[in-house]
């Protein structure tokens, strides 16, 4: 399938924010809407979130992530949203041009009237929190382990310690327990839970998985594979409390230690990033500082519920569609003025239909060849003459003009384009 090069709205990312933006943009009247997704199917991280709890706000139903995604995927297809899968966006310019690449489509250049950034976020890694110790296999971010377990059918390990009490960590504690692993401990460096209370109840409490606040991993042991982690209590300044150390034998350490909005593309496009959230500054329409570039969801700030990401996506998609339609109206309001017979060029290059109520419009032109006799400057729409003016001669060195007046405007407005000819009389 050959992709169109110009789209009304291009959305980067097909998680809850991107899908909602696509659906909303279509409903708002955008004609050509494209979603670009780097994975091979639509849905984003929802596809690996097989647990329930999605849709309570929007559908008043308790759905798993994939079911929730499926509703939007189906709706997007019904509305005629186009998608480019397995495609990575390499760059977004402030002029709303996108460069993308994939095995299927090759290198593609796409112009967008409006863009919605919906790239979501990434997990913080071991390197980012600098856990001392060996570097064996078996240290995963909770989301990676979630993908292994729920989509690829591979168990990350059998005896697990989880660092961080974020929602994904809690959910994975239950999930791995379901699959027969033993979750030895969940550790949280803060004195309170990072995730939702309901996840503490139904993921840890239900299965007697111990949670320790103000505790962290002090050292990772193991040569090829994790063999144990040494944990310790921390004080208010996050210094280890002497004598609190404990070694927990395990083969896997999961990290659920925070999410960071993914904004490399935004930065390239000149989008200003709030250092507090790590995401773009947006106004209430979800527009960034770059006109026509909108952003929604975890790429802006990290949400606790996908439903809220969807709602933000709706706003962004709607605003992007409005922006694109206004731009399109402006584009189609402009009638090209073409150089015809013996005309080198004409200025202005276009006439804005919206300005036809105002003053006269002077067309300025130069001829290609001299004509040393009386000439006629004529403006036509391809079939009918709209205006004309006589001159004693035409020389390339001397600019000619013709003024369109109010009596011509009705004809000009009906024209798809204007052509100016200069012929001998």
């Amino acid at each position: 399938m050959i992709k169109k090069k110009i789209y009304d709205v291009v959305i980067i990312g097909s998680g809850p924010g991107g899908l909602a933006a696509a659906v909303a943009a279509k409903k708002e009247g955008a004609e050509d809407v494209l979603v670009i997704e780097r994975d091979t199917e639509l849905g984003g991280i929802l596809l690996q979130c097989i647990h329930n709890g999605f849709g309570l706000e929007i559908f008043n139903e308790d759905l798993p992530g994939p079911s929730y995604a499926q509703r939007y995927i189906d709706e997007a297809h019904e509305l005629g949203v186009e998608s480019m899968l397995d495609t990575i966006v390499l760059e977004v310019t402030p002029g709303r041009k996108l460069f993308a690449s994939s095995t299927k489509h090759g290198f593609v250049e796409i112009d967008a009237r409006a863009i919605v950034l919906a790239m979501g976020c990434r997990e913080r890694t071991r390197a980012m929190i600098q856990i001392p110790g060996m570097r064996p296999a078996g240290v995963y971010t909770a989301g990676t382990a979630q993908r292994f377990t729920n989509i690829e059918g591979k168990m990350p390990g059998e005896r697990v310690v989880i660092l961080g009490s974020g929602d994904i960590g809690l959910i994975m504690a239950r999930r791995l327990t379901f699959e027969g692993a033993k979750v030895e401990r969940v550790l949280e460096i803060l004195p309170y839970l990072s995730g939702l209370t309901r996840n503490y109840v139904q993921c840890l409490q239900d299965f007697d998985i111990p949670l320790q606040f103000e505790h962290t991993v002090k050292f990772i042991h193991g040569k090829d594979r994790v063999e144990a982690v040494e944990i310790a209590q921390v004080d208010k300044n996050w210094n280890y409390v002497k004598g609190s150390e404990e070694t927990i034998p395990c083969d896997t350490l999961l990290l659920s230690v925070g999410l960071i909005p993914e904004n490399e593309l935004s930065r390239q496009a000149g989008v200003r990033i709030d250092p507090i959230t790590g995401g773009p500054y947006v106004d209430e329409s979800r527009e960034t500082n770059v006109p026509g570039i909108f952003a929604a969801g975890n790429v802006v700030h990290v949400y606790d519920l996908a439903d809220w990401v969807t709602l933000a996506g709706y706003d962004a998609g709607k605003s992007a569609a409005k922006f694109a339609m206004a731009l399109k109206a402006k584009e189609s309001a402009h009638i090209p003025v073409k150089a015809g017979n013996n005309v080198h060029h004409v200025v202005p290059h276009t006439i804005n239909k919206q300005n036809l109520t105002n003053d006269e419009i002077e067309l300025q032109l130069r001829v290609v060849r001299p004509i040393e006799e009386r000439v006629m400057i004529e403006v036509h729409d391809g079939e009918n003459r709209i205006a004309r003016k006589a001159a004693r001669y035409a020389r390339p060195g001397e600019m000619l003009t013709l003024v369109l007046k109010e009596r011509h405007f009705a004809d000009v407005e009906k024209a798809d384009s204007l052509t100016v000819d200069v012929n001998p009389r």
Binding site: H51, L56, D62, A69, G153, F178, R198
Partner: protein, 122 residues
């Protein structure tokens, strides 16, 4: 005998902290809830605790090796691991459509286990 029990409602992400006053086997009062769901939850949680179960089953010739599934309604808490054991026995054939019934009336609970997404055939 009147006693107080503390519960955290898991009906929605708000997670209200409930304090339930029990007189023998009867709930006298529920406090701390911010909606009606809290009262239903207290009743359910104290006398017949239930949970939604979401997991995966194997799928033949599917785009992925697993298809995610879930119980249409919450199942009794003591049966969670039995339900999971049943799911481990199942292998279905792609293509699968969202909401396809994977196990009907699992363990005579009257509850179906259904697929939570389409799984195209490869």
């Amino acid at each position: 005998m009147v006693e107080k029990r503390k519960l955290i409602c898991v009906s929605c992400p708000v997670g209200c902290e409930l304090e339930v006053t029990l007189d023998g086997n009867e709930i006298v009062e529920v406090e701390g809830n911010t909606c009606k769901l809290g009262i239903d939850y207290a009743e359910q949680e104290l006398f017949d605790p239930r949970r939604m179960v979401a997991s995966t089953v194997k799928v033949k010739n599917g785009y992925h090796p697993l298809v995610p599934v879930y119980t249409e309604k919450p199942v009794p808490k003591p049966k969670i691991f039995d339900v999971l054991a049943e799911l481990r026995k199942v292998e279905i054939e792609a293509p699968v459509s969202v909401n396809d019934v994977v196990i009907e009336n699992v363990l005579d609970t009257g509850i179906n286990v259904i697929a939570s997404r389409d799984m195209p055939k490869v």
